[in-house]
Amino acid sequence: MLDLSAPYIQRALLEMLLLAVPAGLLGSWIVLRRLAFFAHAVGTASFPGLVLASAWGIAPPLAALATALGFGVAQERLERSGRMGADAATGLLLVGCLAAGVVLASDVFESGAEVDTLLFGSLIGLTAGDVWLTAAVVAGVVALEAGLRRHWLGTGFEPAGARALGLRPVAADRLLLAGIAATAVVALDSVGALLVTVVLVVPAATARLLTSRLAPLQLVAMLLAAVEGVAAVWLADALNVGAGPAMAVLGGGVFAAVAGATALRARAVPA
């Protein structure tokens, strides 16, 4: 049974519940605006930032955030040049960041241990500071959502018309990417770079199978992420596996179940 009095469990649960908020709010935008690759890449691409942080003694979260935001800026520039598709730009930048990280890391990391933590996260290793940072980012995301939601809604469907309505698509889009970048960075600690999408994409994708309206989509995604996150902590503790993989399997299982049920339900209606 889960030992709720253990501080590390409390922190883990709190972290997952906090992450459920952007999983719902931003995750919905990620699914609607086809930003899944970006969400995956921006977390992974913070790798060189973390290497430099380790070498120069900067606080890792700050370095990761700076790298992630830089990634977002570069991505947006490349895309706006019109010469390269969005996914090509993301792929190139990701590869470039990882390669740069490897070159820098060869002197800094002797073993692959720190690399593995980057990739898989360590929910057990969360400090109070990590959780506070997550809370701060979540607060920022909530503020962005409150302020920019109608901009994001407008530009999502018709960028040219949005400007006519007085919205500012470029600035609003940049802030959306920034919000995703920041969330990916704080999620790294708990689930690892390769599984950021488990938090940011999978619950929202599952919710998308059930509704197409924004508010219910965000709410359902948030609830799913919260339930899956808590269950993942319990499962990770019970089976002594990582929380990231646990949530991945839960999230995938729920998605498959919902996909199967909705497809089946449609077929059950008499012809």
Partner: protein, 249 residues
């Protein structure tokens, strides 16, 4: 089965089982006829075409075609950043009849250039498809359909947002194809245009009416087809359909 054309009886089809996208469609068009297909966006024009192409699960009814139809979809569906020239695009019309290990026949290459000549783009063979104007791109896609040499052609809003030179050439082409005995189904929002063709089919999730324009294009039928999205200019019963395209040519 008539020697040419399209025959549809009691057609009903659905993308998602249990929710019909189209139902109660029955009409027949023979060789050398142009049918204007009217209806609001989402009302079933594209769905009908997909059913005729065999891509929509048909729940009920029957479709008979003189041969596999050629399809000219709305222009913006084709990729503008794809590395192809106009000639490359037209030549795609011959792919279905060329084995994968053979070069495309010289005869088909000549026919591709002839098709470009026919749509009024004799010198555009080497131009990048994405660099052409909207009307020119539409004509290239029609040239591709010409190369398929199909007895039935399905065209999805070929004239919307197209410059007047291209439009004139396309309409002249329709007349030529009719002369050749082919059957054309043209989805359009232009009610006036549809009134000049042989038959009109009005769709709004189901068949509202089908027949000669004079009989079908009454204000009541149009209102039933378009719901509220209709501006009717009184005097001679002329009506203009209002649709939202989102095109940008």
């Amino acid at each position: 089965m008539s020697a040419g054309g399209v025959s549809v009886r009691g057609l009903a089809g659905a993308y998602v089982p249990g929710r019909d996208a189209l139902r109660d469609v029955s009409f027949a068009a023979g060789a050398g006829e142009i049918v204007g297909v009217l209806g609001p966006n989402g009302g079933g024009k594209t769905t009908l075409f997909r059913a005729l192409l065999g891509e929509l699960p048909i729940r009920r009814g029957a479709v008979e075609l003189a041969g596999r139809p050629a399809y000219v979809p709305q222009t913006e569906r084709a990729r503008l950043d794809f590395p192809v020239s106009a000639f490359d695009v037209v030549l795609m019309g011959a792919y279905a009849r060329t084995a994968w290990f053979r070069r495309v026949a010289a005869r088909d290459r000549a026919a591709a250039q002839a098709a470009l000549d026919r749509v009024g783009l004799p010198d555009s063979a080497t131009a990048s498809f994405g660099a052409l104007s909207g009307g020119q791109r539409q004509r290239v896609l029609i040239a591709r359909a010409l190369l398929q040499d199909a007895p039935v052609l399905l065209l999805d809003e070929p004239l919307s947002g197209v410059d007047s030179v291209s439009a004139a050439r396309i309409e002249a082409l329709f007349a030529e194809l009719r002369q050749e005995g082919r059957t054309l189904l043209v989805a359009t929002h232009d009610v006036r245009q549809a009134g000049e063709w042989d038959r009109v089919l009005c769709l709004n999730g189901r068949q509202v009416d089908y027949g000669r324009p004079a009989a079908v294009l009454s204000p009541e039928t149009l209102r039933e087809t378009y719901g509220g999205d209709l501006i009717v200019l009184e005097g001679g019963g002329r009506a203009i359909g209002v649709g939202h395209h989102g095109h940008a040519h």
